[in-house]
Each structure stands twice: as structure tokens, then as C-alpha cells.
Symmetry: C2
Subunit: 537 residues, 2 copies
């Protein structure tokens, strides 16, 4: 449809990478904003240059599958996800890990034929959606005994196939990106409202395979909760659950595929729970002087039964970084939305709970009703704009020789204070150790009655060429701190290969054995995304 | 604690079975109420009589496990669940299927030792909570190669072990019944609010293993949604997930155990999400002249985002049978509850939605606030009383030679009308065919944005001695009708052995293979509850 090109080495659209001069100017502001001296700016390589030096494909594309290619540029584009490590390596022109083949199936039958061919040819298959993994989820090496690696890109399976307005469900192909599926649903006045930060480029299939976190701060926090049924192709045949609003017939088949990260089968489509576009909105930005008060207010809201759509707590660093406020406050962004009813009573009670903990809403709540401009003004609007653009910042920072990453978790409320203190101490110490210092901020992305989902951002100066080593040290400090407090290694960024050391400790051992047994049963040759979640055979 | 005895053949407390005279008098009213001529009343056998004629135990209790017995009375009590077929067979004194041994472990270590011994002795182990299965979930036969069957009764593991008030979670042993765990939580001002109809006798472990449906009509519909972590003993060791408010680290381990019905391991305890006891309540009984209008109102409420606690639609037969109203109306019981805020705005909008579909609330909404008597008056109160007592009715009807059962499902809204029509036609035809006629009613127990969970009750005259054959025919008609419309074979009654024919068609084939592979991995000798969910090896 569009000729707009994605960056082959960094996040998002290529045309959004600022010019050398703009980056230089931005670098000049970094010292003041974050206390970090930039380098460079350096410039990325060209696609032609890197494509000309990647290793030869070890496998010839089968003549029976016209949609499979060994084109070097396609292989470069399918080498990495979009973690910091990926962008650093891409920026450095290192694409030695490129897959041997890229498949762009146009139908589910093409997917089936690809799996059959790959099984016979002993070629690893990596299901690929938007390629936005931040955990090396799409970066396979071929284990011993395999001829090579094929990246199975579902981009052409991008349609909303059916809409059921009475039951508010829609059958959507796995390769549809956020904007593509939302625009097709909008024609019916409907919306999925699953807005992970990667929304612009990530796909439904990727969301399902990685249990993406969505738009709603409460109740429907993961894409799991929006799923009525999933269809996947496994090497031993299609797996499709019945479209049901709920069931108690044995363990949920969908819950086996949700989070399976491509190791059990290739998700090809799903019936998703959609809803009318909201017409009523209520938003407020509540300011707190003390972090502990802000946390207590977020907990009160999470336990109130008000089920806010948005309950996003930004610490003062996060609030400043995202231009939400510069007054030194911690800010709780509270939002409600509905296609059914005005929201004044909900917001009024939410603000009472915040006030009980010392929260002030200096601009009061904002309300928008049917036909009015939606309530994206004010702090919440500033936040939203910053949220969508944030991943592009990583491209710029990499070009300025700056380390940047995020990590996120969920933890019971009773353990949060100790976790937060430990993360701050440990990650700051690691940044000092390997980078001489750095910036660390925290927000809550989702809240539950039993705990928050904290999300940390860190930025530190890089040593050119040592970025990955520095990053490893800081990531390890973070992962170890989470583990010490029983906080999950990820709330919605998946496990992939990067989180394996901590995931392996977190999951119950018999569960790991059961998962491996399932994989052997469904994928007896071990084709699918080896190394993700469990060891390759 | 209490010497109160449970019935060995029927539902619940033995002392609640009415006298011969009272049953005779009740039988006299049946013709008028349901158009069914009773027989008898017949009287049940004595425990002593049946215990003296059951087959000898094929396995001697091990001297190393003092809590294991072959006492005939204990074996009789652990023979069946509480389905209609179970009660009929129990009432007839048929306990040939009694397990060989009954274990009453006092600790998790006792459970572990039991599993080890059973593995060595080749004895089948049936995890047993309250014994209230309605799908033959606790009724094992020993497959070839096994020496016998042991019923593993978790009744002595009945404690709330820890309460975490900040995170609103509690660690509870699997053998705690509803009243036992609620009374322990009440000491902390907390409640789990999981109230399946079997609440009085069923246990937390049973709820988790069977994905019990609880109190909440929306959002927290299954016990799944109240679960923060589960601990189970598998034959290959303990399986315990981390207590987390949410996670995206791979497929959820808890979701593998939820609905596993005792085939993967013995659930010994769980961290559950509890909450303060509600202090605000709003209830209303909304009457409708037309069923289609009542259904449309229930759908509007389910899709409104108001998240009512109760949204229970009773058709006119159900409403009359439960003494909710006798005026021929279909009744939608709407309820909200909160420990945080008054509920007038919620109820006001709910009643508007009902009025849009012609619903009238003749007594208006009732509100109760902190310190007031809770809102159990009126139709909702009548319903609640009838709900808890309903299972006792089966005992009486069996003694009067009457067939009675329920079946339940969930289905998308767009398929509900056709499903309902087909069920009514098919089940009535089956009742006519095998019993000359009968009564059929429908209610919704839970509602989702994408569909309702309909629950059907049927009552028909029995032919003495042919009850199970008659029941089979009617059950089959119901199961086939559900399957024709893509409705799940169960929303919250589990699969057990009874639902296998339909469950086997419903689940994806690769999922069934994966589940069997998991079982082989975790329970390599196939000890645990063989025949439930999947075939014994």
C-alpha cells in the first residue's frame, strides 16, 4: 500500500530518523536534561553496504515456494528485533546473524507449505510479525543438525476477515499491524483498543504470542483478555479453539498459545473481542509531592473497583522526561472511557481517593462527550504523544553514543517498596560502575488489586564499541534485583532469549518440563524458534 | 469441629433430607408445580447396609501411611460425586465402584508420601475435595496394570495459612471448603467471594482444578481470575508459581493447572485474591414480558462497561420455580456491590438500559450502605435462598422417582437465539421420548461482552431402575444441541468423564496431544485420575 520504508537497523519509519544536524543539536541538550555527554553524532550504514557483506545464504529458496527469497536486503531487515542491543548492532552494520531465507506467505496455506518444506529441509522457522521484539525473540541461530534459518514474515496476512457486531468480536489475521487492524475495524465503528507502545509496527500475532500489554490499565491488561479464540498452525496440524465468551472445559487451549512465543505453532488468526469506539472520556492529572503517597493512591484506585482505563503513575523524572510536568511532582494520569455512559461519578470518586493521599489535580478533571474532541489535552495528551514517539528516541541516542533501555515487571503491593529501592540502588550502581553514572525513572503501566506493573527507563553514557557489554551489566543488575523480590522478569515484554536466565528460575520446574514435552509433541523436529522460552533440543 | 454428617448417597448434610412424610407431602405438590406424577417416596439405604456389601478392598493400606484406610464406610463415602447419576446409584445402594483406599493427609508431606507410595504400588490416585463433582470427576476405575484406586481426600488441609492485607491476597490450603475459608478470612475483614452453588461443601482445590464459576457475573467470572499463584504436587515434584498480580513471562503456569481436574498434580494450596467485605449494595429485579427483550437487556448490560456483580437472567419458568415471581415475567436480577463507593450511578444507568428494552423494576432499586442490612430482600433474596438449597432438591426428587439435572454452557450472543431454540426443542423431545414429557427452564449465570453463560434445568418423570438410561438420553440430546451451535460443553461444571464425548470434539486436536504429552511428562505412570479429560494410557 505505502512505499514508506521502515528503518533496517532501528525503530520505525526510516524517514523519522533526524538529520545529522538535528541530532547534533539534540545531543547538545542532553547534558542539561540528563547530565550525559553525547558522542558523535555517528551515522548509520546504508542498507546496500550491509547487504553486500552479510554471509551467503546457506539454503537455496525452494522453487515450489515463490514467496520465499534469499534476497540480502530482505534478510538484513529480518535479522533482529528492536531491543537496544539490536539497534546498536544494526547501527554498527553487524548483520552476520541474518536468516538464510525470508518467507512472505500470502495465505495460511502458504504458511502450512512453508512448515512442511522446512521440516523436510531441516530449516529453523522463526515466526515474524512486526519484528519489534525487545528480547531477541526473532533472532534464531540454527542448532546443530539444521541447514539454516527461515524468517516467516506474516505481513501479508493483514486483514480483518469477519466482524460480528452482536457479539463484538472480529476475526483478524495475525500479520495485521495495530494501525491496519484498527482502520479496518473503524469502518464498523469498532476498535480493539490494544495499544502496546510498539502499536505502529507490531502485529496481532506478535501480541498474542508475547502476551502484549495493551491500553487498559485495569481488567483487560493483556491481549489475553481480549481473545475469544486463536488459530495456529503447528507442525502436526492446525490448532483452533472455539470462539467462546468463556469456558470451563479443561485448561484453556488459548492460554497455552498466549505467551508461546512461536515455539508451538504459527498463530495465523484470532477472534478478538472488540468494542464500540468510546464516546465519553474523563481524564485527570493528579500531582503528588511524595512518591509513597502517589503509590498509595494508585493502589487505592486499583483496589477501588472503579476500573479506570488509565492509571499511569509517572515518577517525577519520568514526568519531566516526557514533558508532562516540570514542577517536580509525581503524576498519576487517571482516565476513564466509555461508549455507554458519562463518567463524572467514576472520576469524582477516583479524585477523592487521590485527595485522600494528598493528590491535587491542578487543572481538575477534563470531560469529553459524544461529538466533542477527545480528552487528549493536557498532561495525558503530552504523555500520549511522548509514549508513541519514545521508541524513536532510542535510534537517536544510539547515534549519539548513549545507552538506553527499559525493563518492566509486576510485583505484589507488599513487595513494591523494597523492590523499587533495590532496583534504584542496584541499577544506579551498575550504571556508575560501567558508565560513570546515568538516569533512572519509574512509572506504572498497569495496576491490579494485588500489585502494580512498574516500568523503568534508564539512560547512561556509552563507550563506543562496548555498548553491548555495558548494557549486559546493567540488564543483569536489573534482572537480579527483580528476582530478589519475586517480581516477574516481564509483565508484557516477553521472555525471548534475553530473559531466559531469570525466566528459568522463575517458572516452576515441572511446568518447564511439561512445556518442553508439549513442544516435542507439536514440533517433533524442533523447527520453531529454538532457544526461545526453552532450550533447543 | 462439627459432628454434623454429610449424606453418603446424596447432596449435603444428612440431616437436611426430609422425612418420608414431608417428601410425600412435597410429592403431592409436584403435579401442580411441574405436571409430574411422583412415585414413592422411596427411602435410601443405610450406610451400614451398603458398607457391608461393597467389594473387598483390593489393596491393603500401607503401614507407613497411618492416614490411609480401607474402612468400608469411608470407601462408600468416596465412591461418587454428586451428579444425578451418582445420587441415583447411591440411593439404590450401588457402591460397587468404591475406591479401595481413602487417604486423609494432614500435611502436604503426607500428600507427597501418598503419591510416592501409590506410584510404587501401582495404585490410581483420585484427588478428592468436597466430592461434589457433577461430571464423574472423582470416580476412577483402575486401568489395566493398576492394583486399585485410592481416593486422596484433602479435607484436613483446610487452613488459611497467610493473609497479605496490603496486596489483598491470602494463601489458602486446597481442602478448605467455602464456609471454612470464608470464616477464616472474615476474621481479617476479607472475603474471597467465590460462591459456586456447591459452596457449602466444595473446596478451593476443587474450584481451581475444575475452573469453578463464582459469585461475579462479570469480570471475575471464574476462580481463575481470583488466582495469584498455585502450588501442586506432581509425581515429578512440586509445581509452584510465583505470587504475581500479572505476568507475561511465557504461557501462564497457573492456567495449565486451572481446569486440569487432577490429572497433572494434586493442588495443595494457592494464593488467592481476596477483598474487603462489600459495604455498599444495590439490587434490582427487572421484569420483562418478552424473553428476547430480557436477553437484549442482559447483553446491553454485559457490553456497557458497568460490570455488575450480579446479572442473572431467569426465564419465567425459572423465576416461578425459585419463587422469585409468579407473575409470568422473565426476571433480570441486577446487583452491584462495593467496599468503596455508593452505587446509585451504576444502578441508575443499568436500569436505563433495561428500560430501553422494556424492563420494569416494580419495586425499584434497593440500596444498602455501610452498617445497614445487606440488600438480600426481595427477589434477589428469594433467589439466593433457593440457589443454595437447590442441590438438596435433587435428593428429594430422586426419592420421588423423578429425573432432574442441569447443564450449562457459554456461547456468543450471535448464536444464542438459535442455540436456545434448539436446546428447548431437542431436550423437550428427548424428555417426551424417554419420560413422556418434562420441565425445562433457562437462566444466565454469567454474562460477557461477547456472550452469555446459559444454564438449563430439566425435570422429568423417571422409570424406576431405568433412571440412568433415561438420563443418558436426555443428556445426550443436550450435549449434541450445544455442540451443533459451537457452545462449550461446560462453562463451569468441568469435563470429568461425563463430558468427554463432547469435550473431545470441542478441543483442538493438537492441544489434546499436547495435554497428553504434558501428562506423560508429569505423571509418567499415569496414576492421577485416569480417564478424566484424556484417555488413560
Amino acid at each position: 500500500m505505502s512505499a514508506r520504508e521502515k528503518s533496517f537497523w532501528g525503530w520505525g519509519w526510516a524517514d523519522k530518523f533526524p538529520s545529522h544536524e538535528a541530532r547534533k543539536s539534540f545531543g547538545g541538550q542532553l547534558k542539561g536534561m540528563l547530565g550525559i555527554d553525547p558522542q558523535g553524532p555517528f551515522d548509520p550504514p546504508t542498507l546496500e553496504a550491509v547487504a553486500s557483506v552479510i554471509p551467503e545464504s546457506r539454503v537455496a529458496p525452494p522453487s515450489s515456494l515463490s514467496f520465499v527469497t534469499d534476497d540480502p536486503e530482505a534478510r538484513v531487515r529480518h535479522t533482529y528485533g528492536r531491543a537496544f542491543r539490536d539497534i546498536v548492532r544494526g547501527f554498527a552494520g553487524d548483520f552476520d546473524a541474518a536468516p538464510d531465507l525470508v518467507a512472505l506467505p500470502e495465505s495460511e496455506d502458504d504458511v502450512r507449505r512453508t512448515l512442511e518444506w522446512a521440516s523436510d529441509a531441516r530449516v529453523v522457522v522463526v515466526p515474524y510479525g512486526g519484528g519489534t521484539s525487545v528480547v531477541a525473540g526473532v533472532e534464531a541461530r540454527a542448532p546443530d543438525g539444521f541447514a539454516g534459518v527461515l524468517s516467516l514474515d506474516l505481513a501479508r496476512l493483514d486483514r480483518v476477515l469477519e466482524v460480528e457486531p452482536t457479539s463484538l468480536t472480529a476475526r483478524i489475521q495475525a500479520g495485521a499491524t495495530g494501525p491496519l487492524l484498527e482502520s479496518q475495524l473503524a469502518a464498523h465503528g469498532l476498535t480493539l483498543r490494544c495499544f502496546p507502545q510498539s502499536f505502529e509496527h507490531s502485529t496481532l500475532g506478535g501480541w498474542l504470542a508475547t502476551r502484549a500489554g495493551g491500553h487498559f490499565a485495569t481488567v483487560y491488561t493483556h491481549v489475553d483478555d481480549l481473545t475469544a479464540s486463536i488459530r495456529a498452525l503447528t507442525p502436526r496440524g492446525p490448532w483452533e479453539s472455539w470462539r467462546l465468551p468463556g469456558s470451563g472445559a479443561g485448561p484453556s487451549p488459548d492460554r497455552f498459545l498466549l505467551g508461546s512465543e512461536g515455539i508451538l505453532g504459527v498463530i495465523t488468526e484470532a477472534w478478538m473481542r472488540v468494542r464500540p469506539r468510546p464516546t465519553f472520556r474523563a481524564t485527570a492529572s493528579v500531582h503528588f509531592g511524595e512518591w509513597s503517597d502517589a503509590v498509595a493512591a494508585a493502589r487505592a484506585l486499583a483496589q477501588s473497583g472503579l476500573y479506570p482505563t488509565n492509571c499511569r503513575l509517572l515518577d517525577r523524572r519520568e514526568a519531566a522526561l516526557n514533558f508532562v510536568t516540570g514542577d517536580g511532582s509525581h503524576v498519576l494520569l487517571v482516565g476513564f472511557e466509555s461508549a455507554d455512559h458519562p463518567l463524572q461519578p467514576w472520576m469524582a470518586r477516583a479524585l477523592e481517593l487521590c485527595a485522600d493521599h494528598g493528590g491535587r489535580a491542578p487543572k481538575g478533571p477534563l470531560y469529553a462527550e459524544a461529538g466533542e474532541k477527545s480528552g487528549d489535552a493536557g498532561s495525558a495528551g503530552a504523555w500520549k504523544a511522548a509514549f508513541v514517539e519514545a521508541p524513536y528516541l532510542m535510534n537517536v541516542l544510539v547515534s549519539l553514543g548513549v545507552l538506553v533501555d527499559t525493563f518492566e515487571t509486576a510485583v505484589p503491593w507488599d513487595r513494591f517498596d523494597a523492590l523499587h529501592a533495590d532496583v534504584v540502588t542496584s541499577v544506579r550502581a551498575a550504571m556508575r560502575e560501567v558508565a560513570g553514572g546515568g538516569f533512572l525513572s519509574c512509572r506504572f503501566t498497569h495496576v491490579y488489586p494485588d500489585g502494580p506493573a512498574p516500568y523503568f527507563t534508564w539512560i547512561a553514557p556509552a563507550r563506543r564499541g562496548a555498548e553491548v557489554t555495558q548494557w549486559d551489566a546493567i540488564k543483569t543488575a536489573a534482572g537480579e534485583a527483580l528476582g530478589r523480590h519475586g517480581a516477574t522478569i516481564t509483565h508484557h515484554h516477553a521472555v525471548g532469549r534475553t530473559h531466559r536466565p531469570w525466566y528459568d528460575r522463575q517458572r516452576p520446574e515441572p511446568f518447564a518440563a511439561a512445556l518442553a514435552a508439549m513442544k516435542r509433541e507439536l514440533d517433533p523436529r524442533g523447527l520453531l524458534n529454538p532457544g526461545v522460552l526453552i532450550d533447543p533440543r
